[in-house]
């Protein structure tokens, strides 16, 4: 009986750790629920319930004893698709019976601790290059390519640095987009760029909450109304921060 109880808690810890890593790395809510239920079923708990929102996970398992429930809080959310893929792989191995609970827990701990992110400068270069490419995709002219690359790269790097300085997402997004607008106007005023609008659109794209918006609507359509709405609110706040940053530049220079 006692042994059974510790086993139940062990399984819950494994499932919750997997769910936590996935949610923190930007997976959709329904994927987190699905993965946790599948993992529990693979360990022999066919009746489990989960309630996942972007800010917390409630998970309960029904066994022979009274139902066990645990809650964990998620404070920090980033986008790290590699971790989602890794946890997905582990859950596949659990389902096929390759991993015991203990092994899976060790593997998940390794994934949680590991940092696979690209170095900051690589991310900055990626953002810069994609800004330039977006300029061309949105019918910009080639002379504006370099200004968009510079503005996009500076904007993205400054977003990360401002966020380290002041851990309020809204504020760092506002400052980063203000900087982008400022640079775009500077380029056009000095004759290095031609169209302010196109440069700004291209270089703002790495900041735009595209992933959040689509995830929010998918969650809503899957019936996860609470998480859909809260993700939507987060996306709206981000869009508003970017918009008002640019708006400030406009009201200073173009008035």
């Amino acid at each position: 009986m006692d042994k059974q109880l510790t086993f139940t808690y062990e399984i819950m810890d494994v499932c919750l750790l997997a769910g936590k890593i996935m949610l923190q790395s930007g997976a959709e809510t329904y994927r987190v629920e699905d993965t946790m239920t599948r993992m529990a079923a693979a360990f022999g708990f066919s009746h489990s319930h989960s309630y996942v929102t972007p800010t917390g996970i409630i998970f309960s398992v029904e066994g022979k004893e009274p139902t066990k429930t645990k809650l964990i809080r998620i404070a920090e959310r980033t986008t790290d698709l590699e971790k989602v893929a890794l946890v997905n792989g582990i859950s596949r191995k659990i389902s096929s019976g390759e991993f015991t609970a203990d092994e899976a827990y060790q593997e998940l701990k390794i994934v949680e601790r590991a940092s696979h992110t690209y170095p900051l400068w690589v991310q900055g270069v990626a953002a810069a290059v994609s800004s330039g490419c977006f300029l061309i995709m949105f019918m910009g002219k080639w002379p504006d390519f370099l200004p968009a690359v510079i503005a996009g790269g500076v904007g993205f790097i400054s977003l990360i640095y401002f966020h380290r300085l002041v851990p309020i997402k809204f504020f760092s997004e506002f400052l980063a987009s203000f900087l982008i607008g400022l640079l775009a106007f500077l380029f056009v005023k000095t004759g290095a760029g031609m169209e302010v609008d196109k440069i700004i659109i291209g270089s703002v794209m790495p900041l735009v909450p595209g992933l959040l918006i689509t995830n929010a609507v998918r969650d809503l359509m899957a019936g996860h109304l609470v998480s859909g709405l809260s993700k939507g609110a987060e996306a709206f706040l981000t869009a508003f921060a970017i918009g008002s940053g640019i708006a400030l530049v406009f009201s200073i220079f173009a008035a």
């Binding site: 698709l81 596949r92 977006f134 406009f250």
Partner: protein, 150 residues
């Protein structure tokens, strides 16, 4: 046209890097993004409705993502997120915001509504492909169960 192909490929792959997609799947992310953008671009160039073009493009992106995720055993989200990024109505949202600032509320509201519709249609394309995927899987499961029952 060729510059659109190349830039959309690079932009999607670069977004894969920002979202820290697994290194092996970066090229595939770029390919999915390129495919979606080109479909959208050709449809809009031929004067089809933006919303309809977005639905079709995001549907193709999701289907390709699902095929890739079956082959390479990775979650669909990795391919669909990077692929969908070019379709996100960033430019439209920006135009709306700019008109708000310049007190052109009529234009601003209509642009904002359109941006909202476009992001909704991205999601519809994604969800639609998922529904079809699940329907196919369900019928396959049913057939399997029937076979065992006999």
């Amino acid at each position: 046209m060729i510059e659109q192909l190349i830039t959309s490929f690079i932009a999607s792959a670069a977004f894969g890097m920002i979202f820290n997609a697994p290194r092996k799947s970066l090229i595939k992310c770029g390919f999915v993004g390129m495919l979606g953008w080109i479909i959208y671009y050709i449809m809009v160039e031929n004067r089809l409705d933006t919303i309809f073009s977005t639905v079709v493009a995001s549907f193709v992106i999701a289907v390709t993502g699902q095929i890739f995720s079956k082959i390479y055993k990775t979650p669909v989200i990795i391919f669909s997120v990077a692929g969908v990024i070019p379709l996100v109505p960033g430019g439209m949202a920006y135009d709306a915001m700019r008109n708000f600032v310049q007190n052109d509320y009529n234009i601003a509201i209509s642009l904002a509504a359109k941006a909202f519709m476009v992001s909704g249609s991205i999601a519809i394309g994604l969800v639609f492909s998922e529904v079809i995927n699940q329907a196919i899987r369900q019928t396959q499961l049913n057939r399997l169960n029937k076979g065992q029952g006999r």
